[in-house]
């Protein structure tokens, strides 16, 4: 999660890589509670999140999205 991009930055990077028709959708909030279901988040990291992130953000610390785009066809 520490390496997650802002949605706008993600879309910009896709554009710079040459992709077109960039679409970002299927937004779903990710909470600290949900993150704790993943074994990759250690207890220490979850505790760090609970301690350092404002309580009002605990239910939405990140957003799960689907990003779609296309490489232009040969004709551009």
């Amino acid at each position: 999660m520490a390496g997650a991009l802002a949605e706008r930055v993600f879309a910009e990077k896709l554009g710079r890589a040459g992709f077109v028709d960039v679409w970002v959708g299927a937004h779903r909030p990710t909470s600290i509670e949900e993150a704790s279901q993943y074994p990759l988040f250690t207890d220490e990291v979850i505790e760090l999140m609970r301690r350092t992130i404002a309580p009002e953000r605990h239910g939405h610390v990140a957003t799960s999205v689907i990003v779609k785009a296309r490489r232009p066809d040969a004709a551009g």
């Binding site: 520490a2 802002a6 949605e7 957003t63 799960s64 999205v65 689907i66 990003v67």
Partner: protein
């Protein structure tokens, strides 16, 4: 620059070690949130147990029979297997992961699912994909791009391996605003 490169290498090591060290995935708690009952019924139990994704990229990829699909960060194979079922034996599903233990699990799960004849798992990095130019119709991934310290490089590689007109369907996390520095600078927070 040198410090930046060291940071990138450290992040890669942290991610590889974290994924290699865990003894299971998010299981039904994660898979049940991301996949429909119909999709879950297509999967062997082990693939569900090792679910570690954040979305359902296959659902949005609209895969067609005969297509070649690359799953970047294929883990224990859950999305690769779903993709393989959709492209069928006239197509091909390729899973790519940096963790040997995950690729081994994925091979077992693909065999259990009966899609191993047109599915392969390779070891490799998303920043240096071991595939030829313009060789893939669709690239999917699930909660993986955020793990890269070289995202622009990874996206350039995805672009390179896609055929002209090829498409991507990536599930990932986004974060608006700044994470607290204690988290942003915690290397283990990169793996989750």
């Amino acid at each position: 620059m040198a410090k930046d490169l060291m940071f990138q290498a450290e992040i890669k090591d942290v991610v590889r070690e974290a994924y290699g060290a865990i003894s299971g995935g998010g299981g039904q708690a994660v898979a049940g949130r991301l996949y429909s009952d119909v999709e879950l019924a297509e999967l062997p139990r082990g693939a569900i147990d090792w679910a570690l994704g954040v979305g359902n990229p296959v659902r949005y990829a609209f895969l067609q029979p005969g297509e070649v699909v690359l799953d970047i960060g294929s883990g224990a194979g859950i999305d690769t297997i779903l993709a393989a079922r959709r492209v069928g034996p006239e197509g091909k599903a390729i899973g790519l992961d940096i963790v040997p233990e995950m690729s081994e699990r994925a091979r077992v799960h693909a065999a259990e699912a009966g899609v191993d004849a047109w599915t392969e798992f390779r070891l490799g990095e998303m920043e240096q994909i071991p595939l030829p130019d313009a060789s893939v119709d669709v690239v999917i991934s699930n909660g993986v791009l955020n793990l890269s310290a070289r995202k622009s490089r990874a996206l350039a590689e995805i672009f390179r391996v896609l055929k002209p007109g090829g498409r991507i369907s990536l599930a990932d996390l986004t974060v608006e605003g700044e994470l607290p520095p204690e988290i942003a600078n915690d290397q283990s927070a990169w793996a989750g």
